[in-house]
Symmetry: C2
Subunit: 112 residues, 2 copies
């Protein structure tokens, strides 16, 4: 997007959609819970504190976006992070937010 030629409308929508998928706290919780390896739905329900229905829905959304991958094993369904760029993406955003908060804290300390 910065190194490349300007995106056409279609590509732009895809980028927006991808950001939208990552713009839900519960989905971020799920992603975070999966950073240390695959887990089944029940485990994710426990870890995130969400309801089973809601967790299942969000897992659907993340899988449809090719961010997670599904693996069925008997009654359980195991999910894992399928998109290797996700951790980097999250790191970049976290870094930006940390910097922003630090700057705000500094400004507050200086002028406040």
């Amino acid at each position: 997007m910065s190194k490349h030629r300007p995106l056409n409308e279609e590509a732009l929508l895809l980028v927006a959609q991808r950001f939208a998928v990552l713009a839900e706290p519960m989905r971020l919780r799920l992603i975070q819970s999966l950073f240390d390896g695959e887990k089944n739905v029940g485990e994710l329900v426990t870890l995130t504190g969400g309801t089973q229905a809601n967790v299942s829905r969000h897992l659907q959304t993340l899988t449809a976006a090719h961010i997670l991958a599904r693996r069925k094993e008997g009654l359980q369904v195991y999910y894992k992070i399928a998109d290797p760029t996700i951790p980097r993406l999250c790191d970049v955003v976290c870094g930006a937010i940390e910097k922003q908060l630090a700057r705000q804290a500094a400004t507050f300390a200086a002028t406040g």
Copy 2:
């Protein structure tokens, strides 16, 4: 988020909010238009094809998120990208999408 300890609820909300800001096509168009330097609202209206009111609102949103910075010069207001991580962020997402589309294309070609 991956290298760091798990985020607390508050940080998680901030990350989600930041992704949400980037999840709108018009805002991505504005960001894209600003990759080659600052522009005023009128120029951005022309470049993006949006209405003045809508462009102004989205610029507000982006500025509130500290993604853009505002500079007033007479009647005009100039905006520019203030967050240096934005281009990288967009590149990461674009790269992921390109890979995904390529993989889908390959699968389609292989299996018919």
